[in-house]
């Protein structure tokens, strides 16, 4: 019985650990997407943040300096996205793809030039990391709690504040917002900046909390899983959180099932479990399980009349 309890506890803890960056990223992405700015660049922002968190923490010896650097790095990428998509009305998907590719390249280029470890940052010691707070062996560092808090916070901002109301409006019908005398670009810039803040925290979590340093491409598609979670949650905070937990649980199970023979089924291919988030999202988008409808103005640049 004790074994079962500890197994459940460990699996839940593992789920939460894996889900934390997904949750943070998904909440950030929600702000952006709700305002009508599609963000396929979550992956790149998170990667850039992870690199600068580890690099800064390694150089300064302070984990908090690392967190600050991660946020700044992600915000720079977010502003770039905003500059291209809001100010210059560029294609949002193209901009997001560019950000992902630039981040994948720059982190290795700078990492190699500065630390000479093949793109990795030096391994971080205790003070340079965010360490577990309360529970033993659970990895419950402060960013895990931040992720848990970010969900009701995001819900409250989007659903209960004046800013959130306008945010939703600008994602559905920017012309109406503009007619009411509210600046569409400024609203969208604030949404994109909020997105950068959360993506920055997610990146910091990867390199200085969950792991002890940055390694190349360490986001490994998690930004896209977060994007999938947003879609899976139908652009609402709590369902998106649920999707992150399901995807995290799948990952935790995949690690646990590696090489294990399940009675009656045989060995379950780990790749199948890892592919499930993508597969489920495809099914959902196709309308086989419910219907996911994006904000109506998502992806459409707003052109003010002259």
């Amino acid at each position: 019985m004790d074994d079962l309890v500890s197994l459940v506890f460990l699996t839940l803890a593992a789920t939460l650990r894996v889900a934390t960056p997904l949750v943070l990223c998904a909440m950030g992405g929600l702000f952006s997407e709700k305002s009508g700015i599609i963000d396929v660049g979550l992956e790149g922002k998170m990667l850039m943040a992870a690199f600068f968190a580890a690099a800064t923490s390694a150089v300064t010896g302070s984990a908090w300096a690392g967190v600050a650097a991660a946020i700044v790095a992600a915000e720079v990428m977010a502003l770039l996205h905003g500059f291209a998509c809001i100010t210059h009305r560029g294609n949002q998907v193209v901009s997001g793809v560019a950000i992902n590719i630039i981040a994948a390249g720059l982190t290795v280029v700078w990492g190699t030039a500065w630390f000479n470890r093949g793109g990795q940052t030096p391994p971080l010691v205790e003070d340079q990391r965010l360490l577990p707070l309360l529970l033993p062996n659970a990895g419950d560092n402060i960013l895990v709690y931040a992720a848990l808090l970010s969900v009701p916070l995001t819900w409250w901002i989007i659903e209960r504040t004046r800013f959130g109301l306008r945010l939703r409006a600008v994602g559905e019908m920017p012309l109406a917002v503009d007619t009411a005398g509210i600046s569409v670009p400024w609203l969208r810039y604030r949404a994109v900046l909020l997105c950068g803040l959360f993506a920055g925290l997610a990146g910091a979590y990867l390199s200085i909390a969950q792991n002890a340093g940055f390694s190349r491409d360490m986001t490994a598609g998690q930004g896209f899983i977060a994007l999938a979670a947003i879609i899976f949650g139908k652009w609402r905070p709590f369902p998106a959180f649920g999707a992150c937990l399901i995807f995290g649980l799948l990952d935790a199970i995949a690690i646990r099932l590696q090489g294990v023979r399940v009675p009656g089924v045989g060995e379950v291919p780990v790749q199948l479990i890892q592919a499930l988030p993508y597969l489920l999202t495809v099914f959902l988008l196709a309308g086989f399980i419910g219907r996911a409808v994006a904000p109506r103005a998502a992806g459409v640049p707003y052109q003010k009349e002259h």
């Binding site: 599609i38 396929v40 770039l80 500059f83 291209a84 998509c85 210059h88 009305r89 560029g90 294609n91 949002q92 998907v93 193209v94 901009s95 793809v97 560019a98 950000i99 992902n100 590719i101 630039i102 981040a103 994948a104 390249g105 720059l106 290795v108 280029v109 700078w110 190699t112 030039a113 500065w114 793109g119 598609g221 896209f224 994007l227 999938a228 879609i231 291919p269 790749q271 199948l272 890892q274 592919a275 993508y278 597969l279 999202t281 495809v282 988008l285 196709a286 309308g287 086989f288 994006a294 002259h306």
Partner: protein, 365 residues
């Protein structure tokens, strides 16, 4: 609008793209400066590394071949108003099709039959991998951008599973298939040229580049000189007009994406049949994403795509040499350049237009 005139057509085609690329390279120069290397010095190594010898030119053209395939793939979809970010996965599965055909028949078929069959299989598998997102968009209304992203990950997961569990050569420790027999090898360029008496240095360049050139011509003829191409471009410009003209948008979406996926699948021909001689993991290596940059820079026209692919091929080869000469710069510098070109030629394409308009207005008055 502030008395500005629209740009003349030649400036729109020739000057604006060059300004965009110049901005990308200036940014690269700044990044190179930040890591403490003289940008002009680096540029010198890059150019010499890309076109300095017969061997390096061979490698440049070999990389160019891949960029032509993925650039054309993205461009065909662009013309239909579709954004195919799934080139990476389509190239992967196209390579799988090419490899499976060879593994199944290379012991029975001679090369003149084996090679066309493998090329056809690459196209069919690549097209099939693109057809699913196309079908989901056309009939179920899912967004093709998201679906093709997801299909990249699905392709990667499928390939790892197949290579580790099914296709791995008996007794092999690394996940790769058995070697292809001789009939499953696409002749290399240096062997082919040697047969007609021209000596060039050995490189990875193979006859895939001929296929790439044929694809360019084929895409040009298809898009601008057939009724289907006309309907496809009409759908991209104005779907309502296309419907009014009698085009079935669903069928046209399928057609555009299948051609796009098939073209991306040819990366597998160049990589597996031309170079590796077996199925390996991770051979698409970002070519699918770089195809977006190639198509944007080449303005989705075959001529532009060839020019852009040449630049990208030279960057890929020159970048490898550069990384060898200057250890503080890694090969990923090329990835940064690709990303910046996507940024400046794609997302920020409109930024320099007002500057140029002002310039032309000043000159004209």
């Amino acid at each position: 609008m502030n008395g500005r005139r629209p740009l003349p057509a030649w400036a729109e085609i020739a000057v604006l793209p060059l300004v965009n690329i110049a901005l990308a390279f200036i940014t690269v120069g700044i990044i190179v400066r930040i890591i403490g290397v003289d940008p002009l010095h680096a540029l010198q190594f890059l150019v010499v590394g890309a076109i300095g010898s017969s061997e390096s030119i061979g490698y440049t053209l070999y990389y160019t071949t891949n960029f032509i395939f993925t650039g054309l793939a993205v461009a065909v979809a662009f013309h239909a108003g579709l954004f195919n970010i799934g080139g990476e996965g389509q190239a992967y599965i196209g390579g799988l099709g090419c490899g499976l055909a060879i593994l199944a028949f290379d012991r029975y078929l001679p090369a003149p039959l084996m090679i066309p069959l493998a090329i056809l299989a690459a196209a069919l598998f690549g097209a099939a991998w693109a057809a699913v997102p196309a079908w989901l968009q056309a009939w179920r209304g899912s967004h093709i951008v998201i679906t093709t992203i997801m299909f990249n990950f699905l392709a990667a997961a499928l390939m790892v599973y197949l290579m580790v569990n099914v296709l791995i050569a008996p007794g092999s420790m690394t996940p790769q298939s058995r070697n292809f027999a001789a009939s499953g090898k696409l002749p290399s360029m240096h062997d082919t040229l040697a047969a007609i008496g021209i000596q060039v240095a050995p490189s990875a360049l193979n006859l895939s580049i001929v296929l790439a050139v044929l694809c360019c011509i084929g895409v040009w003829v298809f898009l601008w000189h057939t009724p289907w191409g006309y309907a496809l471009r009409t759908m991209g410009h104005n779907p309502e007009a296309a419907v009014y003209g009698g085009t079935n948008l669903r069928h046209m979406t399928m057609l555009a994406m299948c051609i796009s996926g098939g073209l991306a699948g040819f990366v597998g021909v160049n990589e597996l049949m031309g170079v590796h001689q077996r199925i390996v993991l991770d051979f698409p290596a970002g070519y699918g994403f770089a195809g977006i940059a190639v198509a944007l820079m080449g303005r989705s026209h075959p001529v532009g795509i060839v020019l852009a692919a040449l630049l990208f091929g030279a960057l890929q080869q020159g970048g490898a040499e550069l990384a060898f000469e200057i250890p503080t710069i890694t090969r990923e510098m090329v990835v940064v350049i690709q990303g910046l070109i996507i940024l400046f030629s794609g997302a920020l394409v409109n930024m320099p237009r007002p500057w140029l308009q002002r310039l032309f207005t000043l000159r004209g008055s």
